[in-house]
Amino acid sequence: MTDLNELTLAQARDGLARGDFTSVELTAACIAAVEAARPLNAFITETPEKALAMAKASDERRASGTVGLMEGLPLGIKDLFCTEGVLTTAASHILDGFHPPYESSVTTRLWSEGAVMLGKLNMDEFAMGSSNETSYYGNVVNPWVPEGDNRRYVPGGSSGGSAAAVAARAVLAATGTDTGGSIRQPAAFAGIVGAKPTYGRCSRFGIVAFASSLDQAGPMTRDVRDAAIMLRAMAGFDPKDSTSVDMAVPDFETALDGDVRGLKIGVPAEYRVDGMPAEIERLWHQGEAWLKDAGAEIVPISLPHTKYALPTYYIVAPAEASSNLARYDGMRYGLRVPGKDLVETYEGTRAAGFGAEVQRRIMIGTYVLSAGYYDAYYLKAQKVRTLILRDFQQAFQGVDAILTPTAPSAAFAFGEKSGDPVAMYLNDVFTVPASLAGLPGMSVPAGLSATGMPMGLQVLAPAFDEMTMFRVGAALERAAGFDARPAKWWVS
Protein backbone atom coordinates (compact mmCIF):
# COMPACT_ATOMS: atom_id res chain seq x y z
CA MET A 1 0.00 0.00 0.00
CA THR A 2 1.29 3.50 -0.80
CA ASP A 3 1.68 5.94 2.08
CA LEU A 4 -1.85 6.92 3.05
CA ASN A 5 -0.89 10.58 3.42
CA GLU A 6 -0.13 10.65 -0.33
CA LEU A 7 -3.78 10.07 -1.22
CA THR A 8 -6.15 12.70 -2.49
CA LEU A 9 -9.33 13.41 -0.55
CA ALA A 10 -11.32 11.48 -3.16
CA GLN A 11 -8.98 8.48 -3.02
CA ALA A 12 -8.99 8.46 0.77
CA ARG A 13 -12.76 8.86 0.85
CA ASP A 14 -13.18 5.86 -1.43
CA GLY A 15 -10.58 3.79 0.45
CA LEU A 16 -12.32 4.51 3.75
CA ALA A 17 -15.66 3.60 2.20
CA ARG A 18 -14.26 0.31 0.92
CA GLY A 19 -12.78 -0.39 4.34
CA ASP A 20 -9.22 -0.57 2.93
CA PHE A 21 -8.04 1.40 5.95
CA THR A 22 -9.45 3.31 8.87
CA SER A 23 -9.44 7.01 9.58
CA VAL A 24 -7.15 6.32 12.51
CA GLU A 25 -4.63 4.68 10.15
CA LEU A 26 -4.97 7.49 7.64
CA THR A 27 -4.61 10.09 10.36
CA ALA A 28 -1.60 8.38 11.88
CA ALA A 29 0.11 8.45 8.49
CA CYS A 30 -0.58 12.17 8.21
CA ILE A 31 0.65 12.84 11.75
CA ALA A 32 3.93 11.16 10.86
CA ALA A 33 4.16 13.21 7.67
CA VAL A 34 3.43 16.40 9.60
CA GLU A 35 6.26 15.62 11.98
CA ALA A 36 8.58 14.82 9.13
CA ALA A 37 7.70 18.08 7.42
CA ARG A 38 8.62 20.25 10.41
CA PRO A 39 11.57 21.79 8.55
CA LEU A 40 8.96 23.52 6.36
CA ASN A 41 7.53 25.25 9.44
CA ALA A 42 4.07 24.86 7.97
CA PHE A 43 2.35 24.39 11.33
CA ILE A 44 2.02 26.77 14.24
CA THR A 45 0.22 24.19 16.36
CA GLU A 46 0.08 20.44 15.76
CA THR A 47 -2.84 18.65 17.39
CA PRO A 48 -2.03 14.93 16.99
CA GLU A 49 -3.98 13.72 20.04
CA LYS A 50 -7.04 15.63 18.97
CA ALA A 51 -6.63 14.30 15.44
CA LEU A 52 -6.50 10.69 16.60
CA ALA A 53 -9.51 11.19 18.86
CA MET A 54 -11.48 12.73 16.00
CA ALA A 55 -10.38 9.91 13.69
CA LYS A 56 -11.46 7.32 16.19
CA ALA A 57 -14.85 8.98 16.56
CA SER A 58 -15.13 9.07 12.78
CA ASP A 59 -14.43 5.36 12.48
CA GLU A 60 -17.12 4.73 15.07
CA ARG A 61 -19.60 6.91 13.20
CA ARG A 62 -18.82 5.05 10.02
CA ALA A 63 -19.36 1.74 11.77
CA SER A 64 -22.78 2.95 12.87
CA GLY A 65 -23.65 4.00 9.35
CA THR A 66 -23.15 7.78 9.52
CA VAL A 67 -20.86 9.12 6.81
CA GLY A 68 -20.37 12.84 6.21
CA LEU A 69 -18.96 14.45 3.08
CA MET A 70 -15.50 14.63 4.67
CA GLU A 71 -15.80 11.56 6.87
CA GLY A 72 -12.47 10.60 8.40
CA LEU A 73 -10.38 12.90 6.18
CA PRO A 74 -7.48 14.66 7.98
CA LEU A 75 -7.01 18.36 7.25
CA GLY A 76 -4.81 21.26 8.21
CA ILE A 77 -6.55 24.46 9.27
CA LYS A 78 -5.12 27.90 8.57
CA ASP A 79 -4.48 29.60 11.89
CA LEU A 80 -6.91 32.36 10.95
CA PHE A 81 -9.88 30.08 11.75
CA CYS A 82 -10.88 30.15 15.40
CA THR A 83 -10.90 26.63 16.80
CA GLU A 84 -12.49 26.07 20.16
CA GLY A 85 -9.95 25.42 22.88
CA VAL A 86 -7.05 25.27 20.40
CA LEU A 87 -4.51 28.09 20.24
CA THR A 88 -5.45 30.49 17.45
CA THR A 89 -2.90 33.17 16.61
CA ALA A 90 -3.37 34.57 13.09
CA ALA A 91 0.43 34.14 13.18
CA SER A 92 0.65 37.24 15.34
CA HIS A 93 2.45 37.86 18.60
CA ILE A 94 -0.54 39.95 19.68
CA LEU A 95 -2.76 36.86 19.97
CA ASP A 96 -0.33 35.15 22.34
CA GLY A 97 -2.05 32.36 24.21
CA PHE A 98 -5.48 33.00 22.72
CA HIS A 99 -7.68 29.93 23.01
CA PRO A 100 -11.04 30.81 21.45
CA PRO A 101 -14.06 29.63 23.43
CA TYR A 102 -15.87 29.16 20.10
CA GLU A 103 -15.44 27.53 16.71
CA SER A 104 -15.57 29.16 13.28
CA SER A 105 -18.61 28.31 11.16
CA VAL A 106 -16.52 26.85 8.32
CA THR A 107 -14.59 24.50 10.60
CA THR A 108 -17.81 23.62 12.41
CA ARG A 109 -19.19 22.48 9.05
CA LEU A 110 -16.07 20.48 8.28
CA TRP A 111 -16.15 18.68 11.62
CA SER A 112 -19.85 17.98 11.31
CA GLU A 113 -19.09 16.42 7.89
CA GLY A 114 -16.62 14.16 9.66
CA ALA A 115 -13.26 15.82 8.92
CA VAL A 116 -10.28 15.43 11.26
CA MET A 117 -8.02 18.31 12.38
CA LEU A 118 -4.25 17.76 12.26
CA GLY A 119 -3.41 21.23 13.52
CA LYS A 120 -3.20 24.93 12.79
CA LEU A 121 -1.23 26.14 9.81
CA ASN A 122 1.28 28.95 9.60
CA MET A 123 0.50 31.99 7.49
CA ASP A 124 1.38 35.63 6.99
CA GLU A 125 0.53 37.62 10.07
CA PHE A 126 -3.19 38.50 9.95
CA ALA A 127 -3.11 37.22 6.35
CA MET A 128 -1.13 40.26 5.28
CA GLY A 129 1.54 39.12 2.89
CA SER A 130 2.24 37.23 -0.30
CA SER A 131 5.30 35.24 0.72
CA ASN A 132 4.68 34.01 4.26
CA GLU A 133 7.59 36.08 5.51
CA THR A 134 5.54 38.09 8.02
CA SER A 135 4.56 35.36 10.48
CA TYR A 136 5.58 35.83 14.11
CA TYR A 137 6.19 32.07 14.04
CA GLY A 138 8.76 32.32 11.28
CA ASN A 139 8.79 31.78 7.54
CA VAL A 140 7.10 28.86 5.91
CA VAL A 141 9.37 27.13 3.40
CA ASN A 142 8.13 26.05 0.00
CA PRO A 143 8.68 22.32 -0.50
CA TRP A 144 9.67 23.18 -4.05
CA VAL A 145 13.26 24.24 -4.80
CA PRO A 146 14.86 24.66 -8.19
CA GLU A 147 17.28 21.86 -8.77
CA GLY A 148 20.79 22.76 -7.68
CA ASP A 149 19.63 25.91 -5.90
CA ASN A 150 20.59 25.91 -2.25
CA ARG A 151 18.42 28.85 -1.35
CA ARG A 152 14.97 28.32 0.13
CA TYR A 153 11.86 29.58 -1.63
CA VAL A 154 8.71 31.21 -0.39
CA PRO A 155 5.45 29.25 -0.55
CA GLY A 156 3.47 32.39 -1.37
CA GLY A 157 0.97 33.87 1.02
CA SER A 158 -0.86 34.46 3.03
CA SER A 159 -2.01 30.82 3.15
CA GLY A 160 1.63 29.67 2.84
CA GLY A 161 1.46 27.02 5.56
CA SER A 162 -1.64 25.52 3.93
CA ALA A 163 0.03 25.44 0.50
CA ALA A 164 3.26 23.94 1.83
CA ALA A 165 1.53 21.28 3.96
CA VAL A 166 -0.68 20.14 1.07
CA ALA A 167 2.21 20.17 -1.43
CA ALA A 168 4.42 18.23 1.01
CA ARG A 169 1.70 15.58 1.39
CA ALA A 170 1.60 16.20 5.12
CA VAL A 171 -2.15 16.90 5.09
CA LEU A 172 -4.65 15.68 2.53
CA ALA A 173 -6.01 19.18 2.16
CA ALA A 174 -6.17 22.45 4.04
CA THR A 175 -8.39 25.43 4.54
CA GLY A 176 -7.17 28.78 3.27
CA THR A 177 -8.52 32.28 3.16
CA ASP A 178 -8.24 34.67 0.28
CA THR A 179 -8.49 38.44 0.60
CA GLY A 180 -6.52 39.50 -2.48
CA GLY A 181 -5.15 36.18 -3.67
CA SER A 182 -4.07 34.45 -0.48
CA ILE A 183 -5.43 31.05 -1.59
CA ARG A 184 -4.73 31.21 -5.31
CA GLN A 185 -1.20 32.64 -5.36
CA PRO A 186 0.30 30.21 -2.79
CA ALA A 187 -1.53 27.36 -4.56
CA ALA A 188 0.25 28.37 -7.77
CA PHE A 189 3.60 28.68 -5.95
CA ALA A 190 3.23 25.22 -4.42
CA GLY A 191 1.82 23.31 -7.38
CA ILE A 192 -1.58 22.61 -5.85
CA VAL A 193 -5.19 23.65 -6.44
CA GLY A 194 -6.67 26.59 -4.53
CA ALA A 195 -10.25 27.81 -4.90
CA LYS A 196 -11.76 31.04 -3.63
CA PRO A 197 -15.56 30.88 -3.89
CA THR A 198 -17.89 33.82 -4.46
CA TYR A 199 -17.93 36.31 -1.59
CA GLY A 200 -20.81 35.20 0.64
CA ARG A 201 -20.51 31.46 -0.10
CA CYS A 202 -18.47 30.60 2.99
CA SER A 203 -19.30 32.11 6.33
CA ARG A 204 -16.74 34.51 7.78
CA PHE A 205 -18.00 33.88 11.31
CA GLY A 206 -15.07 32.87 13.49
CA ILE A 207 -12.41 33.71 10.93
CA VAL A 208 -10.06 36.41 12.24
CA ALA A 209 -10.98 39.36 10.03
CA PHE A 210 -8.44 41.08 7.80
CA ALA A 211 -10.57 43.00 5.28
CA SER A 212 -14.22 42.15 5.80
CA SER A 213 -15.50 43.04 2.34
CA LEU A 214 -12.89 40.80 0.70
CA ASP A 215 -12.14 37.86 3.01
CA GLN A 216 -13.36 34.47 1.79
CA ALA A 217 -12.44 30.99 2.93
CA GLY A 218 -11.76 28.21 0.44
CA PRO A 219 -10.09 24.84 -0.02
CA MET A 220 -6.44 24.15 -0.89
CA THR A 221 -6.09 20.66 -2.29
CA ARG A 222 -4.05 18.29 -4.39
CA ASP A 223 -6.48 18.36 -7.33
CA VAL A 224 -9.64 19.95 -8.69
CA ARG A 225 -11.93 17.15 -7.55
CA ASP A 226 -10.72 17.54 -3.98
CA ALA A 227 -11.40 21.27 -4.13
CA ALA A 228 -14.95 20.55 -5.29
CA ILE A 229 -15.51 18.02 -2.52
CA MET A 230 -14.12 20.23 0.19
CA LEU A 231 -15.78 23.47 -0.92
CA ARG A 232 -19.15 21.74 -0.81
CA ALA A 233 -18.50 20.89 2.83
CA MET A 234 -17.22 24.37 3.72
CA ALA A 235 -19.86 26.47 1.96
CA GLY A 236 -23.40 27.28 2.99
CA PHE A 237 -25.63 29.88 4.50
CA ASP A 238 -24.82 31.09 8.02
CA PRO A 239 -27.27 33.34 9.87
CA LYS A 240 -24.38 34.54 12.04
CA ASP A 241 -22.74 36.32 9.09
CA SER A 242 -24.80 39.19 7.62
CA THR A 243 -22.87 38.90 4.34
CA SER A 244 -23.45 35.16 4.00
CA VAL A 245 -25.71 34.33 1.07
CA ASP A 246 -28.76 32.13 1.54
CA MET A 247 -28.37 29.97 -1.55
CA ALA A 248 -28.25 26.24 -2.08
CA VAL A 249 -24.76 24.74 -2.41
CA PRO A 250 -24.57 22.50 -5.46
CA ASP A 251 -22.60 19.27 -5.63
CA PHE A 252 -19.58 20.79 -7.34
CA GLU A 253 -18.19 17.34 -8.13
CA THR A 254 -20.86 16.92 -10.80
CA ALA A 255 -19.15 19.68 -12.81
CA LEU A 256 -15.92 17.73 -13.16
CA ASP A 257 -16.55 15.93 -16.44
CA GLY A 258 -14.23 18.53 -17.99
CA ASP A 259 -16.66 19.06 -20.84
CA VAL A 260 -16.08 22.63 -21.94
CA ARG A 261 -17.42 22.26 -25.44
CA GLY A 262 -19.21 25.40 -26.51
CA LEU A 263 -18.03 27.42 -23.51
CA LYS A 264 -16.71 30.87 -24.23
CA ILE A 265 -13.48 31.61 -22.36
CA GLY A 266 -12.44 35.25 -22.05
CA VAL A 267 -8.80 36.27 -22.18
CA PRO A 268 -8.36 39.82 -20.90
CA ALA A 269 -5.92 42.01 -22.80
CA GLU A 270 -5.10 44.08 -19.71
CA TYR A 271 -3.58 41.10 -17.91
CA ARG A 272 -0.67 41.14 -20.32
CA VAL A 273 1.32 43.35 -17.97
CA ASP A 274 4.70 44.93 -18.53
CA GLY A 275 7.60 42.78 -17.51
CA MET A 276 5.60 39.59 -17.37
CA PRO A 277 8.09 36.70 -17.71
CA ALA A 278 7.93 34.95 -21.08
CA GLU A 279 7.30 31.61 -19.43
CA ILE A 280 4.18 32.93 -17.73
CA GLU A 281 2.94 34.29 -21.03
CA ARG A 282 3.71 30.96 -22.69
CA LEU A 283 1.82 29.08 -20.01
CA TRP A 284 -1.17 31.31 -20.52
CA HIS A 285 -1.17 30.66 -24.28
CA GLN A 286 -0.82 26.98 -23.54
CA GLY A 287 -3.91 27.18 -21.35
CA GLU A 288 -5.86 28.82 -24.17
CA ALA A 289 -4.75 26.10 -26.53
CA TRP A 290 -5.77 23.34 -24.12
CA LEU A 291 -9.23 24.75 -23.68
CA LYS A 292 -9.63 25.33 -27.41
CA ASP A 293 -8.62 21.73 -28.06
CA ALA A 294 -11.23 20.67 -25.55
CA GLY A 295 -13.89 22.46 -27.57
CA ALA A 296 -14.11 25.87 -25.89
CA GLU A 297 -14.05 29.13 -27.77
CA ILE A 298 -11.35 31.65 -26.77
CA VAL A 299 -12.65 35.22 -26.78
CA PRO A 300 -10.45 38.28 -26.32
CA ILE A 301 -12.02 40.57 -23.74
CA SER A 302 -11.24 43.87 -22.08
CA LEU A 303 -11.29 44.65 -18.37
CA PRO A 304 -10.30 48.30 -18.68
CA HIS A 305 -9.87 49.13 -15.00
CA THR A 306 -7.55 46.23 -14.26
CA LYS A 307 -4.53 48.39 -13.57
CA TYR A 308 -6.40 50.26 -10.87
CA ALA A 309 -7.27 47.11 -8.98
CA LEU A 310 -4.08 46.94 -6.90
CA PRO A 311 -4.13 50.62 -5.88
CA THR A 312 -7.83 50.21 -5.00
CA TYR A 313 -7.07 47.10 -3.01
CA TYR A 314 -4.24 48.79 -1.11
CA ILE A 315 -6.66 51.46 0.07
CA VAL A 316 -9.72 49.33 0.82
CA ALA A 317 -7.99 46.41 2.52
CA PRO A 318 -5.76 48.44 4.86
CA ALA A 319 -8.66 50.76 5.73
CA GLU A 320 -10.85 47.86 6.81
CA ALA A 321 -7.89 46.18 8.50
CA SER A 322 -7.03 49.30 10.51
CA SER A 323 -10.49 49.11 12.03
CA ASN A 324 -10.72 45.30 12.28
CA LEU A 325 -7.43 45.15 14.13
CA ALA A 326 -8.34 47.86 16.64
CA ARG A 327 -9.69 45.15 18.96
CA TYR A 328 -6.17 43.84 19.55
CA ASP A 329 -5.45 46.29 22.31
CA GLY A 330 -4.20 44.15 25.19
CA MET A 331 -7.38 44.55 27.24
CA ARG A 332 -9.43 41.35 26.80
CA TYR A 333 -7.18 38.66 25.29
CA GLY A 334 -3.73 38.08 23.91
CA LEU A 335 -0.61 40.09 24.57
CA ARG A 336 -0.47 42.99 27.03
CA VAL A 337 2.69 45.05 27.42
CA PRO A 338 1.99 47.11 30.54
CA GLY A 339 2.92 50.77 30.35
CA LYS A 340 2.76 53.59 32.86
CA ASP A 341 -0.84 54.33 31.88
CA LEU A 342 -3.59 53.21 29.57
CA VAL A 343 -2.32 54.95 26.44
CA GLU A 344 1.20 53.65 26.93
CA THR A 345 -0.19 50.15 27.42
CA TYR A 346 -2.16 50.41 24.18
CA GLU A 347 0.76 51.77 22.21
CA GLY A 348 3.36 49.44 23.69
CA THR A 349 1.15 46.38 23.24
CA ARG A 350 0.36 47.15 19.63
CA ALA A 351 3.95 48.11 18.77
CA ALA A 352 5.27 44.87 20.24
CA GLY A 353 2.35 42.69 19.16
CA PHE A 354 2.10 43.59 15.47
CA GLY A 355 4.89 42.94 12.98
CA ALA A 356 6.23 45.56 10.57
CA GLU A 357 3.93 44.78 7.63
CA VAL A 358 0.81 44.75 9.80
CA GLN A 359 1.84 48.06 11.36
CA ARG A 360 2.40 49.57 7.91
CA ARG A 361 -1.03 48.49 6.73
CA ILE A 362 -2.77 49.68 9.88
CA MET A 363 -1.12 53.04 9.47
CA ILE A 364 -1.97 53.32 5.77
CA GLY A 365 -5.55 52.36 6.59
CA THR A 366 -5.71 54.85 9.44
CA TYR A 367 -4.36 57.57 7.19
CA VAL A 368 -6.73 56.98 4.27
CA LEU A 369 -9.74 57.08 6.60
CA SER A 370 -8.59 60.12 8.55
CA ALA A 371 -10.28 63.49 8.39
CA GLY A 372 -9.67 65.26 5.12
CA TYR A 373 -8.46 62.15 3.27
CA TYR A 374 -11.51 59.88 3.35
CA ASP A 375 -13.02 61.19 0.12
CA ALA A 376 -9.77 61.30 -1.79
CA TYR A 377 -8.73 57.78 -0.88
CA TYR A 378 -11.36 55.49 0.59
CA LEU A 379 -14.45 56.84 -1.13
CA LYS A 380 -12.61 57.12 -4.41
CA ALA A 381 -11.36 53.54 -4.11
CA GLN A 382 -14.87 52.24 -3.42
CA LYS A 383 -16.07 54.01 -6.57
CA VAL A 384 -13.28 52.53 -8.65
CA ARG A 385 -14.26 49.20 -7.18
CA THR A 386 -17.72 49.66 -8.66
CA LEU A 387 -16.06 50.22 -12.05
CA ILE A 388 -13.96 47.08 -11.66
CA LEU A 389 -17.08 45.07 -10.85
CA ARG A 390 -18.81 46.57 -13.88
CA ASP A 391 -15.91 45.53 -16.11
CA PHE A 392 -16.43 41.94 -15.05
CA GLN A 393 -20.20 42.09 -15.34
CA GLN A 394 -19.90 43.38 -18.88
CA ALA A 395 -17.30 40.78 -19.78
CA PHE A 396 -19.44 37.97 -18.41
CA GLN A 397 -22.25 38.98 -20.73
CA GLY A 398 -20.09 37.61 -23.52
CA VAL A 399 -18.09 34.83 -21.88
CA ASP A 400 -18.67 31.98 -19.44
CA ALA A 401 -15.31 32.13 -17.69
CA ILE A 402 -12.03 33.99 -17.79
CA LEU A 403 -8.55 32.51 -18.07
CA THR A 404 -5.45 34.29 -16.73
CA PRO A 405 -2.16 33.38 -15.12
CA THR A 406 -2.47 33.12 -11.34
CA ALA A 407 0.68 35.08 -10.52
CA PRO A 408 3.16 37.11 -12.50
CA SER A 409 6.01 34.77 -11.61
CA ALA A 410 6.79 31.44 -10.01
CA ALA A 411 7.88 31.34 -6.36
CA PHE A 412 10.89 33.47 -5.48
CA ALA A 413 13.60 33.04 -2.90
CA PHE A 414 13.35 34.46 0.62
CA GLY A 415 14.29 38.09 0.91
CA GLU A 416 14.04 38.69 -2.85
CA LYS A 417 11.06 41.00 -2.54
CA SER A 418 10.68 41.69 1.13
CA GLY A 419 12.63 44.95 0.95
CA ASP A 420 9.98 46.84 -0.96
CA PRO A 421 6.33 46.57 0.06
CA VAL A 422 5.07 47.61 -3.37
CA ALA A 423 7.16 45.02 -5.23
CA MET A 424 5.60 42.42 -2.96
CA TYR A 425 2.09 43.75 -3.60
CA LEU A 426 2.53 43.24 -7.36
CA ASN A 427 2.41 39.49 -6.77
CA ASP A 428 -1.34 39.78 -6.46
CA VAL A 429 -1.89 41.72 -9.66
CA PHE A 430 -3.92 38.92 -11.29
CA THR A 431 -5.83 37.77 -8.23
CA VAL A 432 -6.89 41.08 -6.69
CA PRO A 433 -9.42 42.22 -9.33
CA ALA A 434 -11.70 39.21 -8.79
CA SER A 435 -11.40 39.70 -5.01
CA LEU A 436 -12.57 43.28 -5.35
CA ALA A 437 -15.51 42.09 -7.44
CA GLY A 438 -16.30 39.20 -5.09
CA LEU A 439 -16.01 36.65 -7.90
CA PRO A 440 -15.01 33.00 -7.63
CA GLY A 441 -11.56 32.07 -8.86
CA MET A 442 -9.29 29.08 -8.72
CA SER A 443 -5.68 28.30 -9.46
CA VAL A 444 -4.82 25.06 -11.20
CA PRO A 445 -1.20 23.85 -11.44
CA ALA A 446 -0.37 23.92 -15.14
CA GLY A 447 3.34 23.59 -15.66
CA LEU A 448 6.87 24.12 -14.43
CA SER A 449 9.11 27.10 -14.92
CA ALA A 450 12.51 26.81 -16.55
CA THR A 451 13.98 26.20 -13.10
CA GLY A 452 11.40 23.54 -12.32
CA MET A 453 9.12 25.59 -10.10
CA PRO A 454 5.33 25.16 -10.42
CA MET A 455 3.14 27.73 -12.13
CA GLY A 456 -0.63 28.05 -12.06
CA LEU A 457 -3.43 29.20 -14.30
CA GLN A 458 -6.40 31.04 -12.89
CA VAL A 459 -10.04 30.49 -13.85
CA LEU A 460 -12.56 33.19 -12.94
CA ALA A 461 -16.32 32.76 -13.19
CA PRO A 462 -19.43 34.87 -12.64
CA ALA A 463 -20.72 35.28 -9.08
CA PHE A 464 -22.11 32.02 -7.68
CA ASP A 465 -21.17 30.10 -10.79
CA GLU A 466 -18.49 27.96 -9.18
CA MET A 467 -19.83 25.07 -11.27
CA THR A 468 -18.40 26.66 -14.42
CA MET A 469 -15.17 27.50 -12.59
CA PHE A 470 -14.74 23.84 -11.63
CA ARG A 471 -15.72 22.62 -15.08
CA VAL A 472 -13.04 24.75 -16.75
CA GLY A 473 -10.55 23.99 -13.96
CA ALA A 474 -11.07 20.26 -14.50
CA ALA A 475 -10.51 20.63 -18.25
CA LEU A 476 -7.25 22.49 -17.64
CA GLU A 477 -6.13 19.93 -15.12
CA ARG A 478 -6.84 17.08 -17.49
CA ALA A 479 -5.00 18.76 -20.35
CA ALA A 480 -2.04 19.87 -18.25
CA GLY A 481 -1.56 16.47 -16.67
CA PHE A 482 0.52 18.12 -13.98
CA ASP A 483 2.08 15.33 -11.94
CA ALA A 484 5.38 16.83 -10.79
CA ARG A 485 6.17 16.52 -7.09
CA PRO A 486 8.72 18.34 -5.00
CA ALA A 487 11.67 16.21 -3.93
CA LYS A 488 11.29 15.38 -0.25
CA TRP A 489 14.49 17.15 0.77
CA TRP A 490 13.04 17.91 4.20
CA VAL A 491 12.76 14.25 5.18
CA SER A 492 16.04 13.44 6.88
Binding site: H99, P101, Y199, G200, S213, P239, S242, T243, V245, D246, H305, Y308, L310, P311, Y314, I315, S322, A326, G330, M331, R332, Y333, G334, R336, G339, D341, L342, V343, T345, Y346, E347, G348, R350, A351, Q359, R360, I362, M363, I364, T366, Y367, V368, Y377, K380, A381, Q382, K383, V384, R385, T386, L387, L389, D420, P421, V422, Y425, L436, A437, G438, A463
Partner: protein, 95 residues
Protein backbone atom coordinates in the same frame (compact mmCIF):
# COMPACT_ATOMS: atom_id res chain seq x y z
CA UNK B 1 0.78 63.95 -1.27
CA UNK B 2 3.44 62.74 1.08
CA UNK B 3 3.69 62.15 4.76
CA UNK B 4 6.06 64.19 6.86
CA UNK B 5 7.33 63.14 10.26
CA UNK B 6 4.54 64.96 12.08
CA UNK B 7 1.88 63.21 10.05
CA UNK B 8 3.48 59.82 10.62
CA UNK B 9 3.60 60.60 14.32
CA UNK B 10 -0.07 61.66 14.32
CA UNK B 11 -1.20 58.59 12.39
CA UNK B 12 0.75 56.30 14.72
CA UNK B 13 -0.91 58.01 17.65
CA UNK B 14 -4.37 57.54 16.12
CA UNK B 15 -3.54 53.88 15.49
CA UNK B 16 -2.19 53.50 19.04
CA UNK B 17 1.14 52.14 17.90
CA UNK B 18 4.22 53.60 19.54
CA UNK B 19 6.89 54.45 17.00
CA UNK B 20 10.40 55.39 18.06
CA UNK B 21 11.61 58.69 16.70
CA UNK B 22 14.43 56.94 14.84
CA UNK B 23 11.91 54.82 12.95
CA UNK B 24 9.76 57.71 11.77
CA UNK B 25 11.75 58.37 8.61
CA UNK B 26 11.86 54.75 7.49
CA UNK B 27 8.20 54.27 8.18
CA UNK B 28 7.38 57.53 6.43
CA UNK B 29 9.37 56.34 3.45
CA UNK B 30 7.44 53.05 3.27
CA UNK B 31 4.10 54.75 3.69
CA UNK B 32 4.93 57.30 1.02
CA UNK B 33 5.93 54.51 -1.33
CA UNK B 34 2.53 52.90 -0.82
CA UNK B 35 0.63 56.17 -1.09
CA UNK B 36 2.50 57.03 -4.27
CA UNK B 37 1.37 53.69 -5.63
CA UNK B 38 -2.29 54.10 -4.73
CA UNK B 39 -2.39 57.64 -6.08
CA UNK B 40 -2.68 56.18 -9.58
CA UNK B 41 -6.39 56.29 -8.85
CA UNK B 42 -6.28 60.03 -9.46
CA UNK B 43 -6.44 59.23 -13.18
CA UNK B 44 -9.82 57.52 -12.94
CA UNK B 45 -12.96 59.50 -13.66
CA UNK B 46 -15.56 58.39 -11.15
CA UNK B 47 -18.14 61.10 -11.67
CA UNK B 48 -21.62 59.69 -11.23
CA UNK B 49 -20.27 56.37 -9.94
CA UNK B 50 -21.72 55.01 -6.69
CA UNK B 51 -19.20 53.67 -4.18
CA UNK B 52 -19.43 49.93 -3.71
CA UNK B 53 -21.12 49.02 -0.45
CA UNK B 54 -21.14 45.28 -0.87
CA UNK B 55 -20.14 42.83 -3.56
CA UNK B 56 -23.02 40.59 -2.59
CA UNK B 57 -26.06 42.28 -4.07
CA UNK B 58 -28.45 41.46 -1.30
CA UNK B 59 -30.22 43.25 1.50
CA UNK B 60 -29.43 43.17 5.19
CA UNK B 61 -30.97 40.21 6.96
CA UNK B 62 -32.70 40.84 10.28
CA UNK B 63 -32.82 38.58 13.29
CA UNK B 64 -35.56 38.20 15.86
CA UNK B 65 -35.40 39.95 19.21
CA UNK B 66 -34.70 36.85 21.23
CA UNK B 67 -32.05 36.23 23.88
CA UNK B 68 -29.93 33.45 22.43
CA UNK B 69 -26.46 34.22 23.73
CA UNK B 70 -24.43 35.28 26.76
CA UNK B 71 -24.49 33.89 30.27
CA UNK B 72 -20.85 32.77 30.23
CA UNK B 73 -18.78 35.48 31.94
CA UNK B 74 -15.96 32.99 32.60
CA UNK B 75 -15.60 32.40 28.86
CA UNK B 76 -15.75 36.11 28.13
CA UNK B 77 -12.90 36.92 30.50
CA UNK B 78 -11.12 33.56 30.21
CA UNK B 79 -8.44 34.86 27.85
CA UNK B 80 -7.93 38.21 29.60
CA UNK B 81 -4.42 39.30 30.58
CA UNK B 82 -6.00 40.38 33.87
CA UNK B 83 -9.47 39.73 35.26
CA UNK B 84 -11.05 39.78 38.68
CA UNK B 85 -14.49 38.56 39.75
CA UNK B 86 -15.61 38.33 36.11
CA UNK B 87 -14.51 41.90 35.39
CA UNK B 88 -11.74 42.73 32.93
CA UNK B 89 -8.98 44.52 34.80
CA UNK B 90 -7.34 47.23 32.72
CA UNK B 91 -4.91 50.08 33.36
CA UNK B 92 -6.70 52.78 35.26
CA UNK B 93 -8.85 55.05 33.13
CA UNK B 94 -8.64 58.70 34.18
CA UNK B 95 -11.57 60.93 33.48
Amino acid sequence: MSLDRDTVRRVAKLARISVNEDRLDDLGHDLNRILGFVEHLDEVDVSGVQPMTSVASQTLRWREDRVTDGGYPEKVTGNAPAADHDFFAVPRVVE
